[in-house]
């Protein structure tokens, strides 16, 4: 697979597009965070020189290390096309999906090296693999499925394209955990629901087919829910799918206040009220 750069210099339309075929180094320096809890007392940085390939992504460089240098390098990946959310990493100071990040693009940003770190503020299990247990528990706690409370129709529950468009942005979330890792409120409060779980709550509150809106608002109305959001917008900056979690959380705040003024009973029923 490794293509000699000299042979592809004229291949501007090849893998990676025209701008990538411009002047590139023969090799790139990759710095990877390594930590094995069984062997290491402290984390370390390992530096690798990787031969340049047109169209190379950061995930490709990690595979290069895995295949040729060190088979013990641990990292998550699955789809390799930006839809599974497994390979979200902190790359050169930004949250990015390793599979969608072109090395050429990183070099265009003016950096000569690639720093690959695990998602910050989450416990490291090994190397680039972090413990996402809290993230998934929070996601589960908001009941991320439809609660319809009417007789199931013959086929699907219909929704107009206009109504569906309202939640398009939030459905596009791939659950990579970048927003949760970037949120200062999540860093300091271990019980905080986090931007992702609340954005997903809004996804159902704003869904015309869902019938448990007040109960859902009740789940995020506490001090560890929407009110702990300080509108720092780190989640929005981090999101590789350009979802605006902050807008969703502000929506939850407004809807919660109006539900309280209405004296909605569902607000106090908690998770149980959702499952009835």
């Amino acid at each position: 697979m490794t293509i000699d750069r000299g042979k592809t210099a004229g291949n501007a339309g090849g893998n990676g597009g025209g701008q990538v075929a411009a002047k590139r180094p023969d090799k790139v320096t990759l710095k990877v965070y390594r930590f094995d809890p069984d062997l290491d007392k402290e984390a370390r940085i390992e530096v690798y020189d990787i031969p340049w390939t047109d169209g190379m992504t950061v995930l490709d460089t990690l595979f290069w290390v895995l295949e040729r240098v060190d088979g013990t390098l641990a990292f998550r990946f699955s789809c390799r096309e930006g839809i599974c959310g497994a390979c979200a990493l902190f790359i050169n100071g930004s949250y990015r999906l390793a599979c969608e990040t072109q090395v050429a693009r990183l070099l265009d940003e003016g950096r000569t090296e690639i720093h690959v770190m695990p998602l910050p503020h989450l416990p490291v299990i090994k190397d680039l693999v972090v413990d996402m247990a809290r993230f998934w528990a929070n996601y589960e706690s908001i009941a991320p499925w439809i609660v319809a409370r009417s007789k199931a129709p013959e086929k699907e529950r219909l929704q107009s394209p206009k109504d569906r468009k309202r939640i398009d942005e939030y459905v596009g979330c791939i659950l990579c955990g970048s927003c949760f890792s970037a949120c200062p409120a999540s860093w300091t409060d271990k019980d905080y629901l986090g931007p992702n779980a609340m954005m997903k709550t809004w996804r159902w509150v704003d869904d015309t087919r869902d019938a448990a809106k007040d109960e859902r608002l009740g789940l995020v109305a506490g001090e560890n829910g929407a009110w702990r959001c300080h509108t720092v917008f780190n989640c929005v900056e981090a999101c590789p799918k350009k979802v605006n979690q902050a807008a969703a959380i502000q929506g939850l705040k407004r809807k919660t206040v109006s539900a309280m003024l209405r004296g909605a009973k569902g607000l106090k029923q908690g998770r149980k009220g959702l499952e009835e």
Partner: protein, 134 residues
């Protein structure tokens, strides 16, 4: 067989704490916190200073005369800036709660920042003779 070029301890620079992409909202929040703490500190100081009037007017006059130093003039100049920023950014956050301007949060921050900077410029003009007397 390939080998890693180097293996070393994690350094400060590896953490990329100062990202290439400016996180406007984060700095807006951080500045809001810092200016908030500074204003509370000033308030306590203000109460202490004002309470010296209890010991009689002469006492208070002496304290006020003592405070006429470049150090406190600089402090008051920073106070003006902090109050303007904190107030405007507070309005920015209130607008978000009302559902206004969430998608324009960066522009709103820079608006608050520029006005605070203008306030600093104005305060500089006012306090200049106190900082550099004579």
């Amino acid at each position: 067989m390939y080998r890693p070029v180097a293996s070393r301890a994690v350094r400060y620079a590896d953490l990329d704490l100062f990202p290439t992409k400016i996180r406007t909202g984060f700095y807006a929040w951080l500045l809001h916190r810092v200016t908030g703490l500074a204003i509370i500190f000033y308030l306590l100081l203000h109460i202490v200073v004002i309470s010296t009037v209890l010991g009689g007017g002469g006492n208070f006059d002496a304290v006020m005369a003592w405070l006429k130093r470049p150090f406190f003039a600089v402090g008051e100049m920073l106070l003006v800036t902090a109050v303007i920023y904190h107030g405007l950014n507070g309005l920015r956050v209130i607008l978000f709660d009302l559902g206004i301007g969430i998608k324009r949060q960066k522009a709103l921050f820079w608006g608050a920042f520029v006005l605070a900077a203008a306030g600093f410029g104005f305060a500089l003009r006012v306090f200049w003779p106190l900082i550099f007397p004579g």
